[in-house]
Amino acid sequence: MQLDDRNLTAAKPPPSLLNVNGIEVIYHHVILVLKGVSLQVPEGRIVALLGGNGAGKTTTLRAVSNLLGGERGEVTKGSIELRGERIEALSPAQLVHRGVVQVMEGRHCFAHLSIEDNLLTGAYTRRDGKAAIAETLEKVYQYFPRLKARRQSQAAYTSGGEQQMCAIGRALMANPKMVLLDEPSMGLAPQIVDEVFGIVRDLNTREGVTFLLAEQNTAMALRYADHGYILENGRVVMEGEAKALAENEDVKEFYLGMGGGDRRSFRDVKSYRRRKRWLA
């Protein structure tokens, strides 16, 4: 279904950094997950990817960063372009060299390494010297003081939230141009969630880093993003300026929980299984 919000995209001036054109992704040769997803991420913007569990957000990000191989998935149709260059055949490492880094869902810290070593491996691709790396490390510690306190602990023995910070920090260590963030807020205390989004905005405005952000915390995501896509069942069902999306009645009802204007209490929700779907 096409929504009028489409029109709003037309006015976008900046050139798109990342262009995903109608990709299809299949896992294990038989499970078709993405059924023609297209999206644009303009340079220097924050784009949010929204949608329920199993909509295909993670899969989209994996397709972009080319991490599908390890999951036995493959892109079977469509193309992905970074600054006009096709990148489906590039290795993840080459993408990192081009400045695209992904923060994986579910943390994936290096269990046996200390937090600090985890962060330092993040700078593996950097060639700008020890001093510059140390500087970034300091910056990450500033963002997440908790990490500094736990720097010598083995990552496996830190708490869930600490690992999440570690994963985000590790990606930032690469000094990326574009970050693919998969559910960054998961498992973080509210203050830290604010902090993370603060960092996103900060990097975005001050260093021009582009973000593609898969997030369940819709309200937060739409607050910080410029543009949003809503995925359902492997298809983009709605897209538009973040503000416009936040105003949309359906989005309000299903993603922001404000059907009747105010936020409803969790205690008041009367029944389940009343999910409306754009594509049923």
């Binding site: 708490s159 559910e183 973080l188 509210p190 299984r273």
Partner: protein, 293 residues
Amino acid sequence: MTVAVVSRMPSPDAEQPRSGSASAADRVPSAAPARRSAGDVILDVQNVSLAFGGVKALTDISFDVREHEVRAIIGPNGAGKSSLLNCINGVYTPQQGTIRLRGQTFRHMNPRQVAEMGVARTFQNLALFKGMSVLDNLMTGRNLKMKANLFQQALRFGAAEREEIAHREVVERIIDFLEIQPWRKTPVGRLPYGLQKRVDLGRALAMEPQLLLLDEPMAGMNLEEKQDMCRFILDVNDEFGTTLVLIEHDMGVVMDISDRVVVLDYGRKIGDGPPDEVRGNEDVIRAYLGTAG
């Protein structure tokens, strides 16, 4: 047998008006506590301390959980919330303190004993059996209740088969309820993160616990899904009187559905009481909630 109990599992039918104690008045968020008479203390944690080498994960924590209540634990990252749950169900052994569970006092808890006493839990970092199907994952939750011995199972006649089917029925109801029917036979390793969380919950529910410990069950869900989950948790709580201990970072959820809240900070307890009271507590605001509240 067990099946009878579970047939009272919340009906999956959406439109049917909800019965029982959940009257409209109960759902006014501001009038949170005392929805029903608070029961006896089911779990009593006394002066528990836990350290890993130099890291003090928990220092002298005491709190109790009463029957039928929804007890939330909140606190910043690394405060020791998950560690506390791990102590309760015997994964970690605290260096100091005692834990009293339904009248019995433990120093060392053995996970099996704890499970036998009707305690189930979900995990923060998914701890599902990745190679097994959704169905099998939930069925393991019922293993404690299965009685057939090895030989009966190998031959699979009569009792063993009947038992298997009876438990399957229970599990199917949970599957229906969690809306994961299409994935019944999919290995859980292939499910998206959010669904895996649901399966994790389903496995704990399949144990029909009296005390259910939930470690961030709603991380990675969107609002709509969280609403469902809350509804569900409340239903379980209402209908079976299952006592719930819930760790959650979403303050909306915590404030709305919990009866009492414990706040941890760097291994210490800095607050304990009904949501409203905790929300107003200076220490809690400073340590956790931030100015936003």
